[in-house]
Structures are given as C-alpha cells and as structure tokens.
Symmetry: C2
Subunit: 439 residues, 2 copies
C-alpha cells in the first residue's frame, strides 16, 4: 500500500467482501472519496448513483437494460412493497433480487420518507427542498409522490411508537414502527436496510424539527435493536444504515451526526430537509459530513442533479439516489453535458429548474427531423440505434418505447457522470472536472 498526500492508505486492488458487507476508501481527494462498497450481491465503485426502483422495477426498463446502461445499485421502497404486493410475496420468491430479477445490490428505504411525502409534505404543499426547485423539477418529494399513483390521504399521526397512516392505495390504516420497518426490510432481503425515521419539512420550525430528530434518534436505537435481534432470511447478510436528520439547523445537524455517527450502523444516510437553496444544502453537508465516521459509506437521500452530486461528492458523500433522471426521461427530457448541447442541440437546452443546461426536451418541434442521436458522444443503446426524430415521434405518438429509450439514455448519463467523477478523484482533478461540467 502507498500513502496518498492526505496520509490515508491507498488500496489499489479491488477488494472483496468477506462478511457480506463492507466499505473501503481507496483514494481521497480533499473530502471526496473514491471507494468500494462491498455487498453479498457484488461490489460497487463509489461515488455511485443509485437508480430508483420504488415498486421493484426501474420504471419502464428491464433490469438487463438498466445494467447495460451502467446501473449497479437499486433503491426500492419498503412502504410501497409492504402495501403491494406485500412483503410476504416478495419473501416467498427469496427476496427482492429474485422477485425483480436484479442480481446487484439493493437498498430499501425505511418507509419513513413515504409516510412523510404522502402526509405532511402534501399538507404543507412543499417538499424538503422546495425553494431550490420551484417547478416540477423538485427532485425528491414531488417525484416520489408521483410514483405513488394516487392522491395522498393527508392522514399521518406521529407518536413515540411510530407513524399511523392511511394507504394511498385503498385508504386502509397502518402503523409503521421501527420494528415493523426492519422486519419488512429483512423479508424483502435488501442488502442495505435503512433505519426508520421521520423526515421533516422546510416549514417545520426548529422546535418541531429538534423534537422530531430526537425521536428519530430513539427510533434509530430501536431500529438497530430490531435489526440485531433478527436474522437475514434469504441466506446472505444485510447491513443497516442510520439516518441523520436535523433540517437546515446547524446545531441539530451536528448533534444528529454525532449521535447517529456513533451508533454501530453499517453506513450513514443524510436525509430530511436539506435547506432552501443549493448553498444551504452545501452548508448542511459541511456541518454534517466531517462529524461522520470516515470508515462508513455515506448516502445522500434524494439528490441527483448534476451540480448537487458534484457538490456532495466534494463534501464526502459516496452514494446518491434520485428519481429525477428516470422521471425526466419519461417526460421526454434527456440529459446531456453542456458541451454536447452546444455542439449538437437544435431545440436548445433547458434553461431553468434542476439540471438547467443539462436537459434537452425531445418534445420540442426542432427535433422533428433531427437525425442525430440524443447525444452523439454517448455509448448507450438508445444513442447507438435511434435518432432524436424517432424518439420525438414516439413521444408524440404516446408510445411506451419512448420512455424506455429515454430512461436508458438518462441512466447511462448518470453512470458516465459518476465514472468521470471517480476517475477525477483518482487523478486529483475533481475541481477541473467540475469546472468543465458546470461552466
């Protein structure tokens, strides 16, 4: 082993998991880390983007198509799968991997966020980062809400025991507790299980946010106890991540990072309200991440725009999930580097919202006879075989293949972005990459 300038040992071999789950930092560049996440379902180089497959499918594509586009990690949802088809159905298949035919590592959200997004956030009319994302591009709350496919009931009752809510499917009442969430995630067989938490909204004041956070910390202890007191059910080990809360309040974030960081979790997720601007999100990460243990993987919940990922990687985040790339694709919006837009765009890049400057709307009339692929420099299946004019035709004609092909491209865009980020960390050139991408 060599030592890098910051004094951290460098491992240049690709490690293998011996106990089913682990994480190794291979290289550091400032706070950014090049790492390897080790799971029973394979090892994943980090920083990595986690594709969202809420209902045990990455919307509109087969797992093989997602993998071919570079997807190595999936994020499925405990709340949705508990309600439908039921954890027992997934468990009877031997867990999520066999149920949905994805052999790579899978994370499951604990259900806390969905209870929030179907309840309080809709009552407040905002998401956790509503002010940064004033339009439909707001990446997490609205996006996940859309995934539910039904209007929210607006009924959520939080108590020390857990959260009582109504199903968005049939209105039936359910009580989610840390113990139930862990039991369901054990049944689902996720490689990475998330502790049960409450996700507060930007409209919650500091007092409520603090009280909620303290309860989330107690739930973290109950989640850990439930996890350690139960066994994996499908023949491979699982890991449990804790979730740091505290809203956009420095004192709360620091307290939460300290408490959650000190508990024996396999990894740490940063969740909740990340503030009302990119700058506030940066501040939240600046307060939080340095207090987290260096040897555990760090996941940032619900962020997946290009600028946000670059900023979070610089601040030491290892993995990200967001519905935006896939949801944008289904709406006809494909992602490109700015240079590609300048060189080849005819309809012009999207000018506002998340990923402004990285988006091309295939519904624009300017693409109706455009023979170029979405991105001539892209190596994805879609760009290799189809023109913008064909994709626009499919979107205008209401054909499902449109969404499938656009999703494949956007997943590939994210995979290539993350590969470039990893290479830049390795080469010590993250600043140059960021400048070239964002300028």
């Amino acid at each position: 082993m060599d030592m890098n300038p910051s004094g951290t040992p460098i491992r240049t071999d690709r490690p293998t998991a011996t106990d089913g789950f682990g994480f190794t930092v291979l290289q550091e560049h400032g706070l950014a880390r090049l790492g390897m996440l080790l799971t029973a379902h394979g090892n994943v180089p980090t920083p990595a983007f986690v594709a969202v497959g809420t209902q045990a499918t990455v919307k509109s594509v087969t797992p093989e198509a997602a993998k071919a586009a570079g997807v190595e990690l999936l994020f499925a949802n405990t709340y949705h799968l508990y309600l439908r088809p039921g954890a027992e159905v997934v468990a009877a298949h031997g867990g999520l991997h066999r149920f949905m035919n994805f052999s790579g590592p899978i994370l499951t959200d604990s259900g806390g966020f969905q209870v929030f997004s179907l309840g309080a956030s809709i009552e407040h009319g905002v998401g956790k980062v509503a002010s940064i994302f004033p339009d439909e591009q707001q990446p997490s709350v609205r996006a996940r809400r859309e995934d539910n496919g039904a209007p929210a009931q607006g009924f959520v009752r939080v108590s020390e025991e857990g959260v009582e809510f109504r199903s968005h499917i049939d209105g039936s009442r359910h009580l989610f507790t840390p113990e139930l969430s862990i039991a369901v995630q054990r049944s689902l067989g996720a490689d990475i299980v998330l502790a049960f938490d409450e996700c507060t909204s930007p409209l919650h004041d500091q007092a409520y946010t603090a009280a909620s956070m303290e309860r989330t910390h107690r739930w973290a202890g109950r989640s850990l106890a439930a996890f350690e007191g139960s066994a994996e059910q499908h023949g491979y080990p699982q890991a449990l991540y804790g979730i740091v809360q505290g809203g956009a309040f420095r004192a709360l974030r620091e307290r939460s990072a300290g408490i959650i960081g000190a508990m024996p979790f396999g990894g740490i997720a940063v969740g909740g309200n990340l503030g009302a601007s990119h700058e506030q999100m940066h501040a939240v990460l600046d307060w939080t991440v340095p207090l987290l243990p260096v040897d555990k993987p760090r996941h940032l919940l619900g962020i997946g725009d290009v600028a946000g990922i670059l900023a979070a990687v610089e601040r030491g985040i290892d993995t990200f999930d967001c519905v935006m790339p896939t949801r944008n694709a289904r709406a006809g919006t494909v992602l490109l580097r700015r240079g590609e837009l300048t060189a080849t765009g005819r309809g012009g890049p999207g000018r506002s919202g998340v990923n402004a400057g990285f988006r091309l709307n295939l519904l624009n009339a300017g693409y109706s006879d455009d023979l170029l692929p979405v991105d001539p420099s892209c190596d994805c299946y879609t760009c290799a075989n189809y023109s913008r004019a064909y994709l626009r035709h499919l979107f205008k004609a209401g054909e499902q293949l449109a969404q499938q092909l656009a999703t494949i491209h956007n997943l590939r865009f994210m995979a290539r972005l993350m590969a470039d980020i990893r290479q830049a960390i390795d080469e010590g050139s993250l600043g140059e990459l960021k400048a070239s991408i964002l300028s």
Copy 2:
C-alpha cells in the same frame, strides 16, 4: 428435387433472394404450404405471424426484444406514419428499417383499412368480423382503432379518385389515392407494399360491397401502375401485394380472387369483411384461396387467434397479422396452450372471446402469490426470469414493465405456434397438431 405426394417439387435447401423479393413453396400438405418468403431484409419461413408495429414500434418492446421473441416480420401503417411523423421524416432516415431499428422485412398497410376503421366502421359500430368477436376481443377493427389513440372523426368520403378523410390527430383533411399511398410506401421503404383498397363492413349490402370491390379492382390497377412507374428510394427492391375484397359474398370473392390473382402482383392479401362467424371466414377462404396463383405468397389481413390461424393455414394462407397478441398482453392477458393452462393455471383460462381457452388474465387475484412463470414450458425472457406474482404486481401497480414483459411472452407464444405449424406441415401432421391444440 423430389416430388411430394401431391406432385409439387420439394425444395429442401433454404433459398436466397436473387432479386430482392420472392417466394418458394418448400412443402405442401393438403392446401397448407411450408414456404420461404425472400426479401432484401432477409428470408422468413412461412406460415409466419407478422407482428404489428402501427406507428413504427411494436408497442412497449424494443426491436431486439421482439426479435429475441421470434418476430421476423413487422407490419407498419402508412396512414399513421403519413400523418405523423410524415413519410419524409422516415425517408430522411433511409426508410423504416433504420428509422425504427428493425433489420428484418417490413410490410406496410396501404392506409385503406385505417380510413375505413376510422370512418365507416365506427359509423356502423362494427368491425369486419364483429359477430364472431362480440366483445373487446374482436381482433382487427377495434384493435386497430385503439391504436389511433383518438376518437374517430366519422368523416370519410369515398370517390373514384380516392378517399377524403380527416386526420384523427388534428382534424385536418387529406385525400388518399392509390398513387399517394404507393408514393408514401415507396418513401417508407417497406419490403412489401399493399395496394390501396376500400375495406367494407359487414353491414354493407351486396350491392355496395360489389361496387366498392370493383372500385378496389380499379385502384389495384392504379396502384400497380404507380408502383411500376416509380423506383425504390432506399437501395433495395420492394414488392407490391394486391388485396382481394368481396365481403362474405361467394360470387364477389370468386370474382375478386380471379381478377386480383391475375394481375402481376408480388403477392396477394385477403382483406375486408370475412363474415360473421369462424365458419363464414372458412367459407370465404374456401372460395378465395383456390383461385389464387400457387406461386405467390398469400397474406390474411387482421386474423391472429389460434383457431383462426390453424384454419387459415389449412386453407393455404402463408402469413397473418393481428394486433391481438400484443394488445392482449398490454391488458394483462397472456397466451398459453390449453395443456399448460390445465397443468399450471390457478386463475383458470379465459372462457369466452377470441382465444377462449388460450388466455390467462394476470390481474386475477389467484396469481397474487403464484411463483410459477407465465408458462413453465416457455423459453421466452419473461418466463425465464419472472413469476406470475411479479407480473401481476407490476400490472396492479401500473408499471410499464408489466406490458413489456407480457408482450414479449405473447410474441414468443405466436412464434412457437407458427414453428409448430411449420414442423407439422413438414411432417404431414397438421391435423394432429390442430387436434392437440384445439381439443
């Protein structure tokens, strides 16, 4: 060359097209023929099922997925592609094959049927075989109407010149003539082009059907002249098929078969109203097919149910198109042989409608925890990787992957059915196959 019992020369080698289009009968068994359709985009063993890709996509699947399921021939639509995206856009790509990324042979419908199905058939409230198919399973008219995605305008004016109609997309007026249809199909670059025809409804009386048929015959002459007076535009030869009309009237069918059969078409399609029962369809074929030239391929328009295909193959039909297998799939109905249903079905087979006894509705609650694949004896991607419970979950959750996976299975079902039929013709056991499938 050997001679078979009926005295027809048998060619056992797989022939190749020397002039871009041809057809060879390899084996006969009664009136049934084992053949090879030769095109510039590859040779296809017949009898063969033609998958429908109305808007230059087989709905919900990639061309690679369709090919992997056994699709060798596609049927796209002149009417739809003329209106959107416009033939000039397809032509600018080098034709349909490159536009939609399908390298195999493509047929295009002439537009006549769609003008009918968006106009007269809706005014009459019936399709060409409405009485056989009293429910939503009526295979051709209703199914294609659904493909249009918009309510019909009900405005169709037929004259000697052609058919004036309103676009189902924007209400704009258009005049389709034989000359325009051929010009558009030349631009689209279909391997097999259909002559422009009028498709009459079961509610048209004999006098109207006769007058319409005579006009269709004159349009056949104009289609031929336009075809022969124009050149292929994309570097490979195309062939033109004539269409036999005449409704369910014996004298008309015999006259149309004689006239169309004597014209120098590359192949013959049997279209229009095929009667009010399976028996009447059999009669129409019994009157028509023996009068057609033996050396030309014969296509039956809009029929694709199992019993109908078996009956038509027995009567000398070589190729079939129908939206039913793919449309059924999108509604959650997957196709199985009856034996498979008996052996493994839990929800029970569909009891009425087209393909009664060959259908399994994945939405049935009985499949909610069914770990079996759709068909344990099937070798398709869907059956190799997913359970009925997973597919049901996807359908209930409104996930597109449901329709994609079900479509793949149903296309494979059709491909395997046709392969079994070809083998049975080769072995002289078509009657036994039919008995085993339908009993």
